[in-house]
C-alpha cells in the first residue's frame, strides 16, 4: 500500500494483541466475583402461548436459589432491544418479562442461584400452565385472514399494523417503474428466498451485573453498544441513567448479534433483586434460538433493461420476517432497498417491503444489515440479464454502475428509520475493483474456458444452453461476479466523541466510547490519533467502551467506527496537537507556524532543527505550566460515503453429488484509505467466510412447532479451516473527503456479494440458477435432474 503517512496505512500490530495471544483475562467472563450467582432464563417451550398460571414456590424454596422473577415481579416497560440511537426506529414491542410467549425460547422466568446446577434445577421446579395458541411459522401466513395476532397487547407502540402482524412497511419510489418497464427491451422478474443465518460468535452472549459500593448498577457485558444499553436498561428497570455503569471488556465476536440489549436487562434485574453479582451466559444452544439472527426474506425483483444493457427500471418487493419481536425490523429491510438498488444508475426504482411478525426466533442486526439478501437477488438477476443479452457480466455492471459525482436520491427517502439524506458519491473505486478483481481470477479466459457453449462465451438472446458437457467427467467449473456497496455510518444519526489526555511521559490516554468487538477498532483509532500527533502507536493507551470513563459513541454498527469515531479522534487529536504546539512554541521560543509534530517530537519545519521530545514537552506542560493537556471532540457526518466491492468466485460442481466447492474467491474492495491494511484484509476475509456459509451451508431450521432443530455446531455448519477456498483480497484505495485520512469502511461490505458471485459461477458451470439460499447439494442434484428431463442434451 502506498502511504504518505507514517502510522496510518501501516500494518501495525493490534494494541490489544498481547493480552489476546497470551490468554490474559480480558473477556467478560474472565473475572471471579465473590458471591457471584448464576442466572438462567426459563425458555418457553411453545411458539405462541399465554401463561395461565405460574408457580415459583418450589423453585424459590430450593436451597441456593436467591431470586426467581416472573412478569409479576418486574416493571412492564415496552421497549425495543435494538441497539440504536434514541428514539429507536424499531417498534417498542418487547418486555423484560411477559405473560405472553411469542417464540420457542421466549422468556418465561429468570432465576439466580449459587451454581449453574442449582439454577438449572430451579428452572425445572417452576410450574407453568400455558394456554397454547396457534402459531405463525411461515412468512406468508402472517398476514392471512384469521391469522392469530402476535402483538395484541395494547401498550406496544411503533408497530405498523399489529392486527395483521405487520411490524413495518416501507414504500419508496424514484421515477415510475411501470413506465420504465414499458421502455425496456427485456424484463426479467424472479423470486428469491433467503434463510435464517446465525452470527455464531465463538463467545456467546454473556453479562455480569452487580451493585457497586455506591449502589450503582454495574453491567459488564459482551456488547457492541454500551451507551444504548445503558439508556435502555435504565428505562426498563426504571432507575436513572446515571445509576447505571456499562463496561465493555474484550468481546469474542459480535457481527451485529451484540448490537442488542439482550441479557443486560434481565441480569440487572436479578442483581437488583439479590444484591449479589449475577452472571448470565448463554449456552451455544441458547445462542441459536434465544439470541438474534438474520432476517429471512422473500424478494421479488423485476428489472427492465434496454437491448444495449442500459437499466431502465428496478422494482424490488420484499416480504421479510422479523421473528417474534421487531428489533431492527424497519432498518434492516430499509437497507435492502437503500443500499442495493442505487448501485446502478436506474432512472426508475421502486422498493416496497412488508416486515411481518412470526412466532420464530427474533431477527436483528447482522453484518451487511439487509444487503446480503438484496444483493443475492439483484446480482443474480443482473447475471441473468447479461446472459440473456449476450453481454459479459462485468461489462453490464460497468455500463450501469453508480459513478463518482453521482447523487443517490433513494437514500434520501430510505434513511435508516427516519428521513434520510441524499448520498453524494465523492469517492468511487468500483471500476478499479472490477478491473483488478477480474484480472486476479483470470476472468476473461475462464469465462471462455469453462463455458460449454461457444468460443466467446457470448450467448445470442434467447438461446438456451445444455446443462452438461459430456467430455468433462462429472466435475464442472464456472466463474461468476457480483458487486455491492454499503455505507459508512448512518448519515445525520451516528455520532461519536473522543477524549485525548497527555501523560507526563509523553504517552496519551485515548478514551473512546467506540466498541472494538475484535474488529481492531482500538488499534485503528489509536493509529489515527498517533498519526495526527506525530507519535508512534505505542504511545497510545486506548481505552474504550466504558460509560463512566469514555465519552459517548453510538457503538459498533453501520460500519461507522473508522469514519465517525475516527473523525472524532482526529478532531480531538488536532486540538491536542494545536495545544502541544503552543506549549512547544513557548518552551522553544519559536513561532507556532514553524513547528510540527513528528516521530514523538515537536520539531521546527525550517532548517534550524530545534526540537523537543514529546516526553520533555509533557513534563514541561505538567510540571512547569501546570496544565493538563486534554481535549475532546464530537463528530458526525451528513452523508454516508459508500465503500464499493466487486467479488469473483470460481466454483467446481460435482454433478454426481451436487456438492459445490468454491475454488477461489476474489474480493476487490474500495474502502477509502486503509488505516491498517492488514486488519482491513482480515475483516474482509472473515466476512467472505460468513458469506460463503450463507451461500452453501448455514441455515437455522425450524420444526413444525417452531423449535430450532439444529442449535449446535454439529448441525449448523460453518466453513472451517479445511473448507475455505483460496482467498485473494485487493484493497483499492480512493480518498474519501468525509473520512479521516480518506477512510471509509470495510467491516460489512465484503459479506454482501460472495453468495451471488457463487450462485452466478454455479450457473456458469452447470446452467442452473438458484434462487434460494443456502444452495445445498441435493438442490443442485434436483435441479440437474429437472434440467435433464426438460431439455434434451445437446452436444
Amino acid at each position: 500500500m502506498s502511504s504518505k503517512h507514517s502510522i496510518v496505512g501501516k500494518n501495525l500490530q493490534k494494541v490489544d494483541g498481547f493480552k489476546l495471544v497470551t490468554g490474559r483475562p480480558a473477556f467478560t467472563d474472565d473475572i471471579y466475583l465473590p458471591g457471584m450467582l448464576y442466572g438462567k432464563i426459563l425458555p418457553s417451550p411453545h411458539a405462541h402461548a399465554r401463561i395461565k398460571r405460574i408457580d415459583t414456590r418450589k423453585a424459590k424454596e430450593l436451597r441456593g436459589v436467591h431470586a426467581v422473577l416472573t412478569y409479576k415481579d418486574v416493571p412492564r416497560v415496552p421497549h425495543t432491544t435494538a441497539g440504536q440511537s434514541w428514539p429507536e426506529p424499531s417498534p417498542y414491542d418487547t418486555y423484560l418479562l411477559d405473560s405472553k410467549m411469542r417464540l420457542v425460547g421466549d422468556r418465561v422466568a429468570a432465576v439466580a442461584a449459587e451454581s449453574r446446577a442449582i439454577a438449572e434445577e430451579a428452572l425445572r421446579l417452576i410450574e407453568v400452565e400455558y394456554e397454547v395458541l396457534p402459531a405463525i411459522l411461515e412468512i406468508e401466513q402472517a398476514t392471512a385472514d384469521g391469522a392469530p395476532v402476535i402483538h395484541d397487547e395494547p401498550d406496544a407502540t411503533g408497530i405498523h399494523d399489529a392486527q395483521h402482524n405487520v411490524a413495518g412497511y416501507i414504500l419508496k419510489e424514484i421515477g415510475n417503474v411501470e413506465d420504465g418497464f414499458l421502455e425496456s427491451d427485456l424484463v426479467i422478474e424472479r423470486e428469491f428466498r433467503t434463510q435464517r443465518q446465525q452470527h455464531c460468535p465463538i463467545e456467546p452472549h454473556v453479562t455480569i451485573s452487580w451493585l457497586d459500593s455506591d449502589n450503582r448498577l454495574v453491567i459488564r457485558t459482551s456488547t457492541q453498544v454500551p451507551y444504548h444499553t445503558r439508556r435502555q436498561v435504565a428505562m426498563i428497570l426504571q432507575i436513572p441513567v446515571q445509576r447505571v455503569h456499562v463496561v465493555k471488556p474484550r468481546i469474542g465476536g459480535g457481527f451485529g448479534g451484540k448490537q442488542e440489549m439482550l441479557l443486560e436487562d434481565i441480569c440487572g434485574a436479578l442483581a437488583l433483586a439479590t444484591h449479589r453479582p449475577v452472571k448470565i451466559e448463554y449456552t451455544r444452544e441458547e445462542e441459536f434460538y434465544m439470541a438474534r439472527s438474520r432476517h429471512p426474506q422473500i424478494l421479488n425483483i423485476k428489472m427492465g433493461v434496454k437491448r444495449d444493457g442500459t437499466l431502465m427500471a428496478n422494482k424490488m418487493t420484499v416480504l421479510a420476517t422479523t421473528g417474534a419481536y421487531g428489533s431492527h425490523a424497519n432498518t434492516v429491510q430499509g437497507n435492502t432497498g437503500s443500499k442495493v438498488l442505487p448501485i446502478y444508475r436506474t432512472p426508475n426504482m421502486r422498493f416496497e417491503c412488508h416486515v411481518v411478525y412470526t412466532n420464530t426466533p427474533v431477527a436483528g442486526a447482522f453484518r451487511g444489515y439487509g444487503c446480503p439478501q438484496g444483493y443475492f437477488a439483484q446480482e443474480s438477476v443482473m447475471d441473468e440479464i447479461a446472459y440473456t443479452l449476450g453481454m459479459d457480466p462485468v461489462e453490464l455492471r460497468k455500463k450501469n454502475m453508480i459513478r463518482l459525482g453521482d447523487i443517490d436520491e433513494l437514500s434520501a427517502q430510505l434513511g435508516e428509520g427516519r428521513k434520510g439524506l441524499p448520498r453524494h458519491i465523492r469517492s468511487c473505486g468500483l471500476p478499479e475493483c472490477l478491473e483488478r478483481g477480474a484480472a486476479a481470477i483470470d476472468w476473461v479466459r475462464k469465462r471462455q474456458e469453462f463455458s460449454n457453449v461457444g468460443p466467446n462465451g457470448v450467448r445470442p438472446l434467447g438461446e438456451r444452453r445444455s446443462p452438461l458437457h459430456p467430455e468433462s467427467g462429472h466435475l464442472r467449473r464456472g466463474v461468476g461476479v457480483a458487486c455491492s456497496m454499503q455505507g459508512s455510518g448512518i448519515a445525520g444519526v451516528d455520532w461519536a466523541a473522543a477524549l485525548l489526555k497527555l501523560n507526563e511521559d509523553g504517552s496519551f490516554n485515548l478514551q473512546v466510547g467506540a466498541a472494538d468487538l475484535g474488529t481492531g477498532a482500538d488499534t485503528v483509532l489509536g493509529q489515527i490519533a498517533a498519526e495526527t500527533l506525530g507519535v508512534t502507536l505505542d504511545k497510545m493507551i486506548v481505552c474504550s467502551g466504558d460509560t463512566d470513563f469514555t465519552p459517548f459513541d453510538v457503538g459498533a454498527y453501520a460500519s461507522s467506527t473508522t469514519i465517525i469515531s475516527g473523525g472524532a479522534v482526529k478532531k480531538a487529536s488536532e486540538k491536542v496537537r494545536d495545544h502541544l504546539l503552543l506549549l512547544a512554541s513557548k518552551m522553544l521560543d519559536i513561532p507556532v507556524d514553524n513547528l510540527t509534530c513528528r516521530e514523538n517530537m515537536v520539531v521546527t519545519k525550517c532548517e534550524c532543527e530545534k526540537s523537543v521530545s514529546m516526553e520533555d514537552l509533557a513534563h514541561f506542560a505538567m510540571c512547569k505550566e501546570k496544565v493538563q493537556v486534554m481535549e475532546n471532540a464530537s463528530h458526525w457526518n451528513t452523508d454516508s460515503p459508500p465503500p464499493f466491492c466487486a467479488q469473483f468466485a470460481e466454483v467446481e460442481v460435482d454433478t454426481e453429488t451436487g456438492q459445490i466447492r468454491v475454488v477461489h474467491l476474489v474480493t476487490a474492495v474500495d474502502l477509502g484509505v486503509a488505516i491498517n491494511p492488514m486488519q482491513a484484509e482480515g475483516q474482509s476475509e472473515g466476512a467472505v467466510a460468513q458469506s460463503l456459509g450463507y451461500a452453501l451451508t448455514e441455515e437455522m431450521v425450524l420444526d413444525a412447532s417452531g423449535r430450532v432443530i439444529n442449535p449446535s455446531f454439529l448441525d449448523y455448519k460453518m466453513l472451517t479451516a479445511k473448507d475455505m477456498p483460496k482467498l485473494t483480497t485487493i484493497l483499492v484505495e480512493t480518498e474519501e473527503p468525509l473520512g479521516p485520512y480518506g477512510a471509509k469502511s470495510i467491516s460489512e461490505i465484503p459479506i454482501n456479494a460472495p453468495a451471488p458471485a457463487v450462485a452466478n459461477a454455479v450457473f456458469h458451470a452447470i446452467g442452473v440458477r438458484f434462487q434460494k439460499l443456502p444452495i445445498r447439494p441435493e438442490d443442485v442434484l434436483r435441479a440437474l435432474r429437472d434440467k435433464e428431463l426438460s431439455s434434451p442434451q445437446r452436444r
Partner: protein, 289 residues
C-alpha cells in the same frame, strides 16, 4: 452438568472394571474418550468408570489379522503403521475423518462402536473387514460378529458388558485386493451424511472372487449390502456391473430424512459412493476399466 456424579472410578485391571460395572449397574457410565457421554448429558448417572487404564489401547497386526484394543483412540488408529498398511489403510482413513484432531485424540474405537450411531465411520469399515468384537462382563467373555452387534439405531446387544477388543480376521489370501472408504459430509469435519467401505478381490481375468460393501447413515444401523455383494461375486468387473451394483445398493438401503439430508438424497448418494468405492477397489486390485 454432571453434578450428580458421586464417584469417579479409575480401575487398573479389566477384572476390577468389570466388577465395578456389575456393582453400579444402570447408574454407571463407562468413560473412554468421554466425547459421546458429555454431549449426551445423562442426568441419571451417578458413577463414572474410566476404562482408559486397563491396557486396552493397542493395535497388533500380522498375517492372521488385526487386534485392536477398545480404548485405542481414533488418532491412534489413524497414525498406526499397522492400520495404515492393513487393507489399503481404510480403517486408518475412516478414523482420520472422525471429527477434528481434538475429537480424534480422545474418541476411542470402542466408544464409537458402542455408541452405535448408524453413521459411525469405523463401524462401516469394520463391517467390510468381517470384524468381531470381544465383550466381557464379570462372569463371561464372548465374541460377537459386528454384523450381529447392532440391534437398532443407537442400540447394541451389549448387556451390562464391556466392549474390550476388536478382532479383524485375516484378509483373503492370494493378493489382488483393493479397498476403499468414501464419506460425504456438508463440510470437511462433518458427521457422515453417507459413508461406504468396500473391499474387492479380482483375479487376473477381471473376475470378482471376494466382495464386501458396507454403508452407514442409510439405515437404522451400519449395514452390509449383501445383495450387491452377491451380484458382484463371480462376475467380471465392468461399467455395467458397476452400475448394477450401485442400483442394488440403492434398493437395499433404507435411509431416513433428517435435518442433515433427505432420504432421497441419501439413497442416491449410497449408489454414488458405492460405485466410487468399488471403482477405487478395482483400480487398487489391478483391474483397469
Amino acid at each position: 452438568m454432571f453434578d450428580h456424579i458421586e464417584r469417579f472410578y479409575r480401575p487398573t485391571t479389566l477384572r476390577e472394571a468389570l466388577l465395578l460395572l456389575r456393582k453400579v449397574g444402570k447408574h454407571g457410565r463407562v468413560v473412554a474418550g468421554a466425547t459421546d457421554i458429555v454431549t449426551q448429558a445423562d442426568r441419571s448417572s451417578r458413577f463414572l468408570i474410566d476404562i482408559n487404564h486397563l491396557g486396552l489401547s493397542y493395535i497388533r497386526g500380522n498375517n492372521r489379522g488385526c487386534l485392536i484394543g477398545a480404548t485405542t483412540t481414533m488418532a491412534g488408529i489413524e497414525l498406526s503403521p499397522v492400520t495404515i498398511a492393513f487393507a489399503g489403510g481404510i480403517l486408518a482413513k475412516a478414523a482420520s475423518t472422525c471429527g477434528s484432531i481434538q475429537n480424534r485424540n480422545m474418541a476411542t474405537v470402542g466408544g464409537n462402536l458402542a455408541n452405535a450411531s448408524p453413521a459411525a465411520d469405523t463401524a462401516v469399515v469394520l463391517l467390510a473387514l468381517d470384524a468381531q468384537v470381544r465383550v466381557a462382563n464379570s462372569r463371561r467373555s464372548r465374541k460377537i460378529a459386528l454384523t450381529e452387534f447392532y440391534s437398532g439405531p443407537h442400540r447394541t446387544v451389549l448387556n451390562g458388558e464391556l466392549l474390550r477388543e476388536i478382532i479383524i480376521p485375516a484378509l483373503p489370501g492370494g493378493g489382488r485386493l483393493g479397498w476403499s472408504f468414501q464419506k460425504l459430509g456438508r463440510t470437511e469435519t462433518d458427521i457422515s451424511l453417507v459413508n461406504a467401505a468396500a473391499g474387492l478381490q479380482i483375479d487376473a481375468r477381471g473376475r470378482i472372487k471376494w466382495a464386501r460393501i458396507a454403508l452407514g447413515a442409510v439405515g437404522p444401523t451400519p449395514l452390509r449390502a449383501r445383495i450387491a455383494e452377491d451380484l458382484l461375486l463371480g462376475n467380471t468387473f465392468n461399467e455395467d456391473l458397476l452400475a448394477r451394483a450401485g442400483e442394488a445398493v440403492m434398493r437395499e438401503v433404507s435411509p431416513i430424512g433428517d435435518g442433515r439430508a433427505s432420504a432421497e438424497y441419501r439413497r442416491e448418494m449410497s449408489g454414488v459412493l458405492a460405485r466410487r468405492a468399488l471403482r477405487e477397489c478395482a483400480t487398487q486390485a489391478g483391474c483397469k476399466l
